[in-house]
Every structure is written in C-alpha cells, then in structure tokens.
Amino acid sequence: MSTGKGNPILRASNITKTFGNNTILHGVSVELAKGEIKILIGSSGGGKSTLLQCINCLVVPDSGEIEVDGMVIDITKKKDLYRLRQQVGMIFQDFNLFDHLTAIDNITIALRKVKKISREQATQRARQELEQVGLGDKQHLYPAQLSGGQKQRVAIARALAMDPKILLLDEPTSALDPTLVGEVISVIKRLAAKGMTMIMATHQMSLISTLADEILFMENGRIVEQGTPSVLLAKGNKSRTRGFCDSLNDLVGEEG
C-alpha cells in the first residue's frame, strides 16, 4: 500500500466505527510514509471526516489498530490517546479557534499547558509560526476579528507549533469564501514543499492534482479506489475518481 518512500510513520488498520446502528467505517486501513501526502475524496457522508477523526482518536474507533512512528496506541487508555494527539495535528473545516484567545494565545495555550513550555518561549515560537503563515501583524487580534482565511491560517500555525509528525486536514477550505481559498491553499502547498506528512480530505482540484501522492476515494465507509493522480485521473481512465473529479471541474469551470 505504501508508495515506497520508506517505513510507514502512520499505520491505521481495520478502523471501524458505528454510531447507533449506522456504520460509518467498515474496517478502513491507511498507511502513510514520512513526507507522503494522501488525499481523501468522495461525496459527503462517505466517512472521510470520521476516518480522519478516528486516526487521532478525536472519535475513538470501535476497533482497529493505530500505530504512529512505531508506537502502538492502546485506544482504551486515555494516556495513549493524549500522546497520540500530540503527534498528530488536526485542521478542521470550521477552524475551531478558541474564541476567547487572541491569535497568538490560541497557539501558546497548548504549548504552555501540554508541552509545559514557558510563556516567553511559547510566545516566541507562536510568533514564528504566525509569520510563517503571513499573519505576523495579526497576533493580537481575536478570532472574531479575523477573516475565514486568516482564521484557518492561525489554526494551521497552531497545529504546526506542536511539531506534529503528521497533519490531518478535514476539508480545510470548504468553509471559506471563494476569494479566501487561495491564501490557505498556498500555505498548504508550502507545507507540502517542506515535506510535511499529511492526509487531507478536500475537493480542491488544485490540491488534489498537484499534491496527492495517492488519492483515496471513499464511499459508504470504505476506500473503493486508490492510486496516484496520474493513473486515476488519466484521460480515458474510467475510474470513479476521475468521474468524481470531472464533476468537480464542471462545478468550477476548469481547474479551480
């Protein structure tokens, strides 16, 4: 399954999740090598978001195995879950910034509480991360004073400050005004260029076609197709993925 970039840094096998009598994930497996980028696509309700949240146990799977950088996670132990989440960053569709904290404190809070770094050092680190996403001048603004694109960039800076080994992105541009999508895309592309390991659910064709080492097409809680974009999106390929991406392209005209 791995595209051969080295030992997997993440291995999630046979993840299942059922809410009530609605099974969202039917034993899904994902492997990720260091520096690799996999992109999840598929209609909503297919399980992309639940899969991402299961990988860092924000939603605890009913069964399955998760291994990060050689460390096997016991999903029944809270302590293991906390450790797992420190290594796996999460970016949400609707940002989820802490509304009562300024941009910079959104970043320092976890550094101080989780990593036990001094306020001074945390502030320094947070400032660096904000500058990286182009928001050095917005550090003292509150989330309600930022645009959607700025909020998402703060959220990315917040996740990166924790030095995650893997970043999970759950439709990072879907809640954004079309005019603000570009700034977030360029931040994500820069991350990719730096070698960040990522799994991302997205329907942005520009991210899918340029970043994906592998596309995973999800439907009804299963990965029904997977492969490199060059194969799955090749002209004449009758893949589900290509059909799906064509419909995305139709929506935005050509190449959004």
Binding site: Q53, N56, L58, K78, Y82, R83, R85, Q86, G89, M90, F92, D94, F95, N96, L97, F98, D99, H100, I109, A110, K113, V114, L141, Y142, P143, A144, Q145, A155, R158, A159, M162
Partner: protein, 226 residues
C-alpha cells in the same frame, strides 16, 4: 423633626450593621454556589452516568424545596441532630450557597451546551487532557457567557437572604423588624429596608454589568457589532 424620620435616622447605623451581614451572607453564598455550580455543570456535561444521576438528584432536591423549609431543616434539624454548632449566619450562608449552587449549575450547563463542540475537539486535538481543555478553554468562555444569568441569580439570592430573619440572623430584615416592633414606625422603617435592598441589588447588578463589558471578547457579540 417628624418621628417617622427621626426613628429612621437613629436606627440607621444599626440597620447598616445588618446590611454588612446581608452582604456577607450573599457574597459567601454566591461564592459557594459558584464553586458548586461549576463542578456540577462539568459533571453534568462530561461526567459518567452515576455522576450525572447524583447531581441531577441534588438539583431536584434544592430546586424543589422552599428555602424557608431548607433553612429550618438544616438549622433546627440536621445541624441539631448531628450536634453541629453553627451560628444562624453560617447556617443561612450554607443553605443559600447550596441552593444557588443548584441554579448556577444549570446556568453553566446551559452555557457549556451553547459552545460549539469544536472548541473541545480542537483542544483535544492539540493533546490537551479533558481537564486541561475544560480549565483553559471551556470555563473561561462559559463564565463570560454566564454573567447576565449570574447577575439575575445574585439579585434573587440577595432577596432570599431576608429569610434569614426567621432563624434569627441579625441581618437587614431582622433588625428592621426589631426596631419597628418597638417604635411602631413600620411604614418608614420598611421603606428604608426596601431602599437598602434595592441599592444592594442595583450596585451588584451594575458591578456585574461592568465586569461583563470588561471581559467581553473583542469582535464577539450577538448584535453583530464588530
């Protein structure tokens, strides 16, 4: 000087002492209620079945029985039965504290339910423990949201504190009644007592409104003003 007024002037320092006692009862009861309320709200939202059941039982008990009954039950009943020697002041403070704790628990619980679920998720996603997320992310937000409802609760408990006179705590009401029964100047004295309660209510509510403005999150308000 007409007698109704001279009696009030003469009794005023005496009534003022009762005012300090009332302020003490209400301040301590609200503080006790705040602590109890926060813990119970956290238990109601994040606790397991047993915790939730026990807290719910507590809420029904303290919201379902009149304060006067609770006062007698505790002061003449429980404290007496277990041979605990407490002053009327302590007794009324405890009873009002336990009562307002039940109401405050619901105020804070409501505020917690109104927060977007993503706040807790994002904190967890950064590796915070549940306790860290509650302390650093959830509580600072819900306490802000709760100030208007808490201010309401303050004005209710302030006036409930007048019930302390039935067990003999020498607060505003007890002292007013004492002077009135000796001087027969009921009208002017009870008007005075009423004014004192009104001023205490007004001052407390105004102070809380100031606090609310002071801790308001910039750019974040229901009326959409940025």
């Amino acid at each position: 000087m007409p007698e109704p007024i001279s009696v009030v002037i003469e009794a005023f320092p005496y009534l003022l002492q009762g005012t300090f006692l009332t302020a003490g009862i209400v301040g301590a009861a609200m503080a006790l209620g705040l602590i109890l309320g926060v813990f119970m709200a956290v238990g109601l939202v994040y606790g397991n079945k047993v915790v939730r059941f026990l807290i719910t039982l507590y809420l029904w008990l303290f919201r379902g029985v009149p304060v006067v009954v609770l006062l007698f039950l505790f002061y003449f009943g429980l404290f007496n039965y277990f041979n605990i020697n407490v002053s009327a002041f302590t007794a009324v403070t405890i009873v009002l504290g336990l009562t307002t704790g039940a109401y405050q628990a619901n105020i804070f619980r409501g505020a917690m339910l109104s927060l977007p679920r993503g706040q807790f998720k994002a904190a967890s996603g950064l590796g915070m423990t549940d306790l860290q997320a509650i302390k650093s992310i959830i509580l600072p937000q819900i306490l802000r949201i709760s100030i208007p409802a808490w201010s309401n609760e303050y004005s209710i408990i302030l006036k409930d504190s007048a019930l302390a006179f039935v067990i003999g705590a020498p607060e505003i009401m007890a002292r007013t009644q004492f002077v009135a029964s000796r001087t027969y100047q009921h009208l002017s004295l009870y008007i005075t007592a009423g004014i004192i309660y009104f001023v205490l209510t007004w001052a407390g509510v105004m102070a809380l409104r100031k606090l609310e403005k002071h801790v308001r999150i910039p750019g974040y308000s229901a009326n959409g003003n940025q």
